[in-house]
Amino acid sequence: MVQKTASTNGSTPALKPKDFASDQDVRWCPGCGDYTILKQVQNVMPGLGVPRENIVFVAGIGCSSRFPYYMDTFGMHSIHGRAPSIATGLKTSRPELSVWVITGDGDALSIGGNHLIHVLRRNVDLNILLFNNEIYGLTKGQYSPTSHEGTVTKSTPMGSLDHPFNPAALAMGANACFFARAMDRDPKHLNEMLIRTHQHKGASLLEIYQNCIVFNDGAFEVYTDKQRRSDTALYLEHGKPLVFGKEGEKGIRLDGTRPELVKLGEGQWSESDLWVHDEKDAFKAYLLARFFEDNRHEDRLPRPFGVFLDVERPAYDEIFNRQIEQAYEKKGKGDLDALLAGEETWVVK
């Protein structure tokens, strides 16, 4: 056993993050949040224990979907919204590959909404990174399905009328087994979430808040600027109470099934009264998904970051291939001559 490990190490020199960077110039706008995400993805790759040739990035269309060109792995920049379906065909036919889907809020939730919900419900073992910047960037600034109501853009000069999608709630509705949220401005946490996304067997959806510096700058500032972030961002940790605030003075307790924002240290509530995060609890994950208030206003429920839900259900690609094995076990390898002849034949002399 020891020998085997040694020889594996000997024949494959350890790769470094830079080994995952392709020779292509990265062409996102200077200051785009995508750079940080690319860097963190390249950072986590060497540690995954997957040979580089077994890693595939499949993207749709949009700024984020240029991602595969910058990774020195196998990659496909496909068509708008369809990456999950292409990745499904690839993963089911080649289950040994590590397949990552790169998508944006327009790609995944507007034109490709159908494929996203179906890939989640089927639970195909894919790592789906949803770069959410709440705007259409590549087409130069129209509102997206995650833009706030009233967003003024080129196509909505009087403000958008659309109510935004809540990706976490959508994932729960599609019976996703893994949902997490991270943001570009917190690379350390993002790094950790990328690893968790990879570790989960089945469809993993990681929503990443990503700043579009040109068309929607500051969309997530309320969760990132030093003044406000501790009051608006709630970092989830498995087994830990939901605590936030500058001094950890705020918490969430459950009043029946209703989450309530409470102040700690004032005598009424203490940490032992708080909701303890359990990422294996799908019921609680549904409630967390509803934490979707406009945090530009004060005293709203904070926006959760981290792993909402991480539960197991058989991965589609696994059961898909098991069924094929069962067919072989039951019927043996198909005899082409028998198939050609069918059940009834006759001879003409």
Binding site: R52, E53, S85, A87, G89, S93, R94, H118, F320, I324
Partner: protein, 617 residues
Amino acid sequence: MSVKITEKDDVTIRFAGDSGDGMQLTGSQFTNTTALAGNDLSTLPDYPAEIRAPQGTVAGVSGFQIHFGSKAIHTPGDSCDVLVVMNAAALKANLKYLKAGGIIIANVDGFGKRDLSLAKYGPEDKPLEQIQTSGYGLIQLDVTKLTRAALADTGLPPKDVDRCKNMFVLGVIYWLFSRDIKVTQTFIEKKFSRKAEIAEANVLALKAGYAYGGATELFSERFSVQAAQIRPGTYRNITGNEATVIGLAAAADKSGLPLFLGSYPITPASEILHGLSKLKHYNVRTFQAEDEIAAIGSAIGASFGGSLGVTSSSGPGIALKTEALTLALMLELPLVVINVQRAGPSTGMPTKTEQSDLLQAVYGRAGESPVVVLSPESPADCFQMIFEACRIAIEHMIPVMFLSDGYIANGAEPWLFPKAAELPQIKVSFAPPREPEDAPYLPYSRDERLVRPWAVPGTKGLEHRIGGLEKEHGTGNISYDPDNHHQMTLIREQKRNNVAANIPEQKIEEGPESGKVLVVGWGSTHGSIKAAVNELNAEGLAVSHTHIRYLSPFPQNLADLFAKFETILVPEINNGQLIKLLRDQFPAFTFHGFNQVKGTPLPVSALSDAIRRATNF
């Protein structure tokens, strides 16, 4: 009592009844028995799109026509000799298909007051009596009563007893045509192997019908049709969709590649998904996707991973797949796209046949998007042409469209099937792994046929990115260079055209090699054209037939064939699509069209007239 038996060269029977009467099953059973008796045959199922249209109405009538004979049979027949009707609506919908002097076998139980009213006959109408005075032969059977009497001792509930009515009728028809009931008996026993009492009841009804034919004096004669003089060998009966399924499994076997079908159910293509889903032990994987786009997307993903990606649909679904098809074309991956054409546009007539997606297949995409287009000419030919589609897709790294249609898909004919060992191997070459010291891998380098290498994930040293953006020749990197785009456009076109060097030459099938009229067909009109041309040749009118199965690119010698004829007639079940391609590519010749868009195969009689007229052009 013995009834005289009359020999016939060929007979056409049409079974018609309510959707719930089991006419498709009756027809296909008669077909299997007829095939095993050695007749040549051709069939045409004709059913409504609704699973159960209102019972007893004309809209709910389901029909099945079979033309069989001791001579070569090319079409299901323009009209029938024998019409079997289970109710008044079936008579109303189908009387127009009965030849003058033909025989009607009617279930009188389906001609009650209510049945007549549902079929929209007037209160004074007595359609069966009117028939007798119109020179048709009429055999009246009270099928319900007779079946109930035959099954009286089974103890089955009336609902189950009445479900055996079609087997009683089939028994009568078997007697009338001097056929053995054994094939159907075996089929029933197998189909209901877990419901012994149902199997027994159906067999009882079948036998009772057969006995009834002989015991009554309803029939003054019986018929027999001798085995056909066809090429010696072992035959089976096959429909187009079945042949397509087997052809795909054969291509998986002969290429050694897993076959991956991504599909979304649609009439009349769904049987391909059903058929392949049973063949998992033939290295076949099937995926029922959430929509048409995901279906082709999954097939492209599988092809990227080194499987043979296939997607199957019909016209409206193909329209949805179009953008993804252009991606496959840009990625230069093997992909087979099956279009079982139906009457369009939009939802059109889903269960009716048409050849109107040819221009969509050849031209109907954004940008300059050349793909290969093939079309089978008959149900059995689906086997060879889908195999060809797979071979070309793999050997040329290109999407191939396979244009079947509703008539070919559901129609059946005898098939002199090949042995597995006789089928050619399909050559697959994956790009080999590379070491870090090797020269950089160029995903868009090309061989002499302009085919790029197939480099699948999991191969060391071949990490590369492909996508829908224009690529630089050789490296495959994104390129907006004007000259590069021009060059790549021409390369993709030439690459498709190079397929012409890898397909058979076009041949004259019937009639002289040169002369007055050449009839040029494609797809499911083959049988009608062949029958019409044979008929005219027998009359002494020298006309010829060639059938194009490779539609894009065309065979290289096509112009040489055209040059040997004075007039070229192009019959199609559309408003003139092949003719547009021919006029575009062969401007030196004059082409005349003959077009009918009725959702049915071209009638031989109308076609013969058109060809006769063409001899006077």
